[in-house]
């Protein structure tokens, strides 16, 4: 753990140099960030861009890391074009293609030690959530999860209690391991960069889990996590047939992603992966239009950062109306099709 000792010595010096004020130029010399990229079949995933966006916000040089089957020619090359990256560390190996934490975590730890990074940033996606706490434990540091803000190199903002409280927390660890909320970190320029792709170290740790299969919901729609418009349905839809009949055409008309409340998912109206809320996805689109959703705190946790919220519900006292910018009290089985028709004719 020699690198860690050196980092703490650096930290001590740094805190004298920069007594709390966020001094960009002094930091840039000492701070060095590794953005952990998520890729699938050679394509970078949306969480990768938010990891880079957060890493760039920290201020120091940013290195990106990606591993998987033949990534140097695919996702690493894609990453190298992103503006503002120092370099891209890539490990070509079938063993890391599925992002299994058991061998990916030791791989990352070896590369973190070699690069002596002070900050490790990954998206708070299923991949990041599974992998990074394991990495943090191997580095003996306390991770900070799902951050929505960076106040300084050691101070981060994150929601707790389903977004009902906002915690500002200061880390004393020599290496900061962070996962970031995608909707809070955006705006990476995916063209114009020309970072060098360098070979990472591969400790070839044994894979303790075997990937058997996957079942992914296929869809032509925009990705729920990053869509600019989301149309969401809840228990009020009553059945899968009604959900498909009422919600889908409206989403089609608006070019929107489809979301659902936990009640709708539990009742089988919509796929699990469409759940919006504390335990599902967090979304912050330009427009969040929901019907038949009462607005339980767990649901609000996942959508209340949306720019404009519109709600259709027959219960005038539903909590959703307390956060909606525009609310319509009425039967969704009449109002939603009417809305769809009127939007269609205006288009």
């Amino acid at each position: 753990m020699i690198p860690i000792a050196r980092h703490s010595a650096l930290r001590a010096v740094r805190s004298q140099l920069v007594p709390r004020a966020f001094n960009q130029s002094a930091l840039a010399r000492l701070l060095s960030t590794l953005a952990v990229l998520e890729q699938r079949d050679g394509k970078l995933q949306a969480s990768s861009l938010s990891a880079i966006a957060a890493a760039q916000k920290l201020g120091g040089p940013v290195t990106a890391f990606v591993a998987g089957n033949g990534v140097k020619g695919t996702s690493a090359a894609e990453a190298a074009k992103i503006k503002g990256l120092d370099k891209v560390v890539a490990v070509d190996s079938e063993a890391y293609e599925k992002g299994l934490a058991e061998n990916y975590a030791p791989l990352l730890v070896e590369n973190i030690k070699k690069g002596e990074y002070t900050h490790i940033v990954g998206g708070h996606s299923a991949f990041g959530k599974s992998l990074l706490p394991r990495v943090a434990a191997l580095l003996d540091v306390q991770q900070v999860s799902d951050i929505t803000g960076i106040e300084s190199e050691d101070t981060f903002v994150r929601p707790i209690y389903a977004g009902n409280a906002i915690l500002t927390v200061q880390s004393s660890d020599p290496i900061k391991v962070l996962t970031v909320r995608g909707t809070a970190f955006q705006g990476v320029e995916t063209e114009g960069g020309s970072a060098e792709i360098v070979e990472g170290v591969d400790p070839k740790a044994p894979a303790q889990t075997e990937w058997v299969s996957e079942e992914l919901a296929k869809s032509e729609r925009p990705d729920l996590g990053t869509a600019s418009r989301v149309v969401s349905g809840g228990r009020g839809l009553k059945s899968k047939e009604e959900f498909d009949r009422v919600i889908v055409p409206l989403a089609d008309t608006l070019g929107a992603a489809i979301g659902a409340s936990r009640a709708a998912v539990d009742s089988g109206f919509a796929d699990n992966s469409l759940q919006v809320g504390q335990t599902g996805k967090n979304v912050a689109p330009q427009l969040y239009l929901c019907a038949g959703i009462s607005g339980a705190i767990q649901h609000l946790a996942g959508m209340k950062d949306s720019k404009v919220i519109a709600a259709i519900n027959k219960d005038p006292d539903a909590p959703i109306f307390q956060v909606a910018d525009v609310g319509l009290v009425g039967d969704l089985f009449e109002k939603v099709p009417e809305l769809t028709e009127k939007l269609k004719s205006q288009a």
Partner: protein
């Protein structure tokens, strides 16, 4: 290899999921005094799954289910609930109550590692996150410290054979994925794994007789050392409801006015 399942189920006492938390005046944390608390919902699922593994009579017999909670005196109630649902015994690791969120996941993981080793555990079932801190780290950290395989956000657990092969279907972005691993194993539970049972009165009475041992962090050679310092806890920016409209035309008009269409 594995003769039976010796399961550890760590549980946490948290503010009830239906309660809207209030931030204290000093902005140092959330008010917990006099607020209804319950078992963390994801931990209920872990206990339920442990009990179902026993009832399912799969290729591996459940030898023992140990529930554990770290926190103030009232954690004992949480552990009685776990035992009323079917856990055989419980450890209460006594940690003074505080409003700073309690032990950090890394500390908990280090403590659990010792428990696993001392109690010869081969399966740990944890909730995927606690609904207070929302960190979602403890299971993965424990797996890392032990060097065990992990399956996070499980929606289905299937013990395949008496050699301890386990298949876990788990939730990933965009769908589900199935993994296969050998015991020992760490699993974190997702909401769709099962429907936890209610503890019946006779079981609640029986649970009172089940062994509940009081422990301290020192028993496991762990210190409550904080890596993270809470600087402040504040209210999220309030959203003002924008009021209601009369009809669909009003809705469209308002959305256009707001620039959303």
């Amino acid at each position: 290899m594995a003769s039976g399942l010796r399961i550890l189920v760590p549980v946490k006492r948290v503010i009830d999921y239906a309660i809207k938390p209030r931030i204290n005046k000093a902005q140092t944390g959330v008010e917990t005094a006099g607020v209804k608390h319950s078992l963390n919902p994801f931990d209920e699922l872990s206990i339920e799954e442990a009990v179902r593994l026993r009832e399912r009579k799969g290729p591996l017999k459940v030898e023992n289910i140990l529930a554990l909670s770290a926190g103030g005196a009232k954690c004992a109630d949480t552990l009685r609930t776990a035992m009323a649902m079917g856990a055989d015994r419980a450890f209460h690791v006594d940690v003074p109550d505080s409003n700073d969120g309690g032990l950090e996941p890394l500390t908990i993981a280090k403590m659990l590692k010792e428990v696993v080793n001392k109690e010869n555990i081969n399966l740990v079932l944890l909730g995927k996150q606690a609904i207070d801190g929302d960190q979602g780290q403890t299971g993965q950290m424990l797996a890392g410290l032990l060097g065990w395989p992990q399956a996070t956000q499980a929606s289905k657990v299937d013990i395949k054979d008496d050699q301890g092969t386990v298949e876990v279907t788990h939730e990933v972005d965009g769908g589900v994925e199935t993994l296969r691993a050998k015991l020992p194993l760490i699993i974190t539970t997702d909401l769709r794994l099962n429907e936890p049972r209610y503890a019946t009165l006779p079981n609640i009475m029986k649970a009172k007789k089940k062994p509940l041992e009081k422990k301290t962090l020192a028993d496991f050679g762990v210190e409550d050392k904080k890596r993270l310092k809470t600087l402040k806890v504040t209210e999220p920016p309030a959203r003002q409801g924008g009021g209601k409209v009369e009809d669909v035309d009003g809705l469209i008009g308002k959305l256009k006015e707001l620039g959303a269409l």
